[in-house]
Symmetry: C2
Subunit: 492 residues, 2 copies
């Protein structure tokens, strides 16, 4: 009885949370410029409602009255998630929660304008206020010997701590710096596409991709956004992508990446029941699905057999003549200003930099006034080139403008998880390369359903990966994959 009441309450809260997601999608893809002021009020009011529901004293009463041991796995997960949300919500004052939601809604537009105007100072006051609010939130929620940053990271990767994340990223960093050095010393330059990549042709090709990766168009759609993302759940999961006329890979791999996220959301069983047990496991696990589709599959030599003729069909002459050269063009390694455009060798160096910087901002070790200098200094040290403009530097990502602190490291964690899952999938599925070359992904998708999607949020994310691959996740699988792949391409 208490459980039924709790579940009914949770489902309505989930529904209202999804409404917030739809508003977010709309804001990024459809909302007119002058709608920002009202939209901030919409998000604030909705956040107030969500906060009230999560901190409803009846939630604690219901949970107290439930015999958790008698529940099935989904039931246990529902109670655990309710308690998690309740504990968080009762610690954060309602006015702070609402202020955060309203500020995020406003701040995003200010960031977009500042980025277009190449003006860090236009964004600085807004960012200061965001950090101030996030620090207040973290301080209110902080428990035991966890740091402010730990507290925020827990929203995206439940249970993850700064120390564990630092260890995993440190292991990865050592391997990446070594690989990057060898590639750089080789002096080799990979082929580059050249041709006419019109927006229409890029989007036509992009629309042919999601179905290959298991995406159901009747339960989704695709639009353009400045910063591609995937939004929604179950029967309504929306992709976004973007078009760079000079570089079609941006559109194509953004599309495959977001499709990986979307396929995960569409694949979770009972997603339309709105019960918390039937949602994604963590942002790290989410990212493992998008990155595996994008990289381990989408950027593989095997998939080049399928993707190269698709490029020829849509763009005609693209300046490379064979699947082999196409694969090399896809996997050119070079320092890039932009995280989302960077290759697999540099990508995680981008993340580590953001991880260190945002931790310092949240822990009060770095001020916004010193942020641009800190960014540019670190970038030059890690990437060997100086940042040329703020849009190519500290203003490039949307995350901080909407209050996503503690989110960046889940990208690298997702890469680690993708490395682990793909290695196991390779050993479990005979003939995987051939399937990928023919773009017949039923077997790998079925493997992912069984080992990842079907479990929803019922296991802790680290446990989910451990159960899937048979050992605790480390950087070894990802490094093994990267060394083999780029070792072959660059002959190093």
């Amino acid at each position: 009885m208490s459980y039924d009441l709790l579940l009914e309450h949770l489902k309505k809260t989930t529904a209202l949370g999804q409404v917030s997601g739809i508003l977010g999608w709309d804001q990024e893809t459809k909302m007119p410029t002058k709608g920002g002021v009202q939209r901030a009020e919409h998000m604030g009011a909705l956040e107030g409602v969500l906060h009230g529901r999560r901190s409803d004293p009846r939630v604690a009463e219901w949970i107290d009255a439930i015999d958790v041991d008698a529940l099935d796995a989904a039931g246990k997960a529902n109670v655990r998630e309710a308690l998690r949300a309740y504990s968080t919500a009762v610690k954060v004052p309602a006015d702070l929660a609402e202020a955060l939601a309203k500020h995020a809604a406003r701040s995003q537009g200010i960031w977009a304008k500042a980025r277009a105007a190449q003006s860090v100072s236009d964004f600085a006051p807004t960012l200061k206020e965001m950090i101030n609010l996030k620090r207040q939130e973290a301080a209110a929620r902080q428990e035991g010997n966890t740091s402010l940053y730990d507290t925020l990271m827990d929203d995206y990767e439940p249970g993850m701590k700064t120390s564990e994340m630092s260890d995993l990223l440190g292991e990865l960093r050592t391997g990446l710096v070594d690989l990057r050095g060898r590639i750089s010393e080789s002096g080799k330059v990979m082929p580059k596409l050249s041709g006419n990549f019109s927006k229409e042709n890029q989007m036509a090709l992009a629309h042919e991709l999601p179905a290959i990766f298991g995406y159901d168009w009747e339960a989704g759609r695709m639009d353009l956004a400045v910063h591609p993302f995937c939004s929604g759940n179950g029967g309504d999961v929306r992709l976004t992508t973007r078009v760079d006329l000079e570089n079609p890979f941006d559109c194509i791999y953004s599309t495959i990446h977001e499709t990986g996220h979307g396929m995960y959301e569409q694949s979770i069983p009972n997603a339309d029941s709105l019960a918390p047990a039937y949602s994604y496991a963590s942002m790290g696990v989410h990212e493992s699905q998008s990155r595996m589709m994008e990289n381990q599959i989408g950027r593989s030599r095997a998939f080049a057999e399928h993707l190269f003729p698709m490029f020829q069909k849509h763009f005609g002459d693209i300046g490379v003549e064979t699947p082999d050269d196409f694969h090399k063009a896809v996997n050119r390694v070079r320092s890039s200003y932009i995280r989302t455009e960077s290759d697999e060798v540099h990508y995680n160096l981008h993340i580590m930099m953001r991880f260190d910087i945002e931790r310092a901002l949240i822990e009060g070790e770095l001020e916004v006034d010193d942020l641009e200098a800190a960014w540019n200094e670190r970038f030059e040290a890690d990437f060997g080139v100086a940042v040329d403009t703020p849009a190519n530097g500290v203003l490039q990502d949307v995350h901080w403008s909407v209050g996503l602190f503690g989110y960046f490291p889940t990208y690298s964690l997702g890469n680690l998880y993708a490395g682990e899952l793909f290695a196991k999938m390779q050993s479990d599925i005979r003939g995987l390369d051939g399937m990928i070359a023919r773009a017949e992904l039923d077997a790998p998708l079925e493997w992912l359903h069984r080992n990842v999607h079907d479990h929803g949020r019922m296991k802790a994310p680290g446990q989910l990966i451990e159960d899937a691959v048979g050992h605790k996740a480390s950087a070894a699988a990802l490094l093994g994959y990267l060394n083999a792949k780029f070792g072959e391409i660059y002959d190093v």
Copy 2:
């Protein structure tokens, strides 16, 4: 103090109501097919929240503590609207309110499919349940000697009663039947467009229209929908239109019509304050703005001077040679199955039919099983032709599927109000015809701002029109306009 608390509460409720509007827009324009189940949960959960806020006991306490006489006009309107919403909400049980919202979200998709499949029986069970729920709602809210239908109509036209509406429509009906008879007896047939009206060219023309009628594109956008509508407020007011390849007037006049609604919403001062005083006066007044733009201005001989060359520019040869013939083609009078495509002479006959039928459904005098027969019989009697398919008959309108009973008559009321307002505007603004011919509508828009938009919801709708034109609204002005216009075109 109590007033400030009340106002803060009202603003958040308005914000959440606008969220529901955005979800509605999304559902009609962007939502994937399989999103319907979750969307029903979203709408239901949101309606539950809105109902809880409107019936919050603190609202009554705050209102009791306010010295209303000391408030300004906006303050008085805010308190009046709060009390109105509170009184309604406390009478409707929360589970009924939520059931209605969920049923409406589901029912709309079922209607759309039934319409496409030409199957009344596919929609009948859903409609029965909707009428059952609306009757329950009306019975719960019914007061004194008002009818169930009065109660529902009050949502759209505050204070309007069935008897008053019947009198106004009856006066209009007499005049229309007479005019229609004379036109029919004349045996004259007006010119008809012919040409190639591609979707792209129709949409290109459609996008040039809203700005003429005062619409601000930075505070809006336009999309396609099965049933065109306008949605949103203040800085985010969205238009929809549709394309019929055979008949470009459908797209063009739907666009102008929805622009009239949109321009009204964009013009209300302080709309982004979210205070109820700064919202539209009633659905009848809303419709007066759309219909005046569409008909009194958009279908005038003067505007043909501007619109005819626009048609030539976008479509080349359109089969008529002069603005005069174009004006006649725009104003062809003929029986049409579809309300939204019908001419100014027949339009209100469509409405009167729906008014009588839906009143009978709500009052329990007509069953859903007998609805199609009743519709077809009445249509043949009023329009002189037999309904050929359900999509051209009882399944044509979205309204009943989403629970809009009592809404239809506000369309005719809007036409009446448009007739009154335009007659007064003509006598107030010298050279109005010339302005319309040049598509320079600053002066009429300013007149509407001053006499209608600036007052928001601060006056009762009937009073608003009476103050604007100097007498109580009747059908006389509209009939005078129609007799003059069609008398000249048909020489009757």
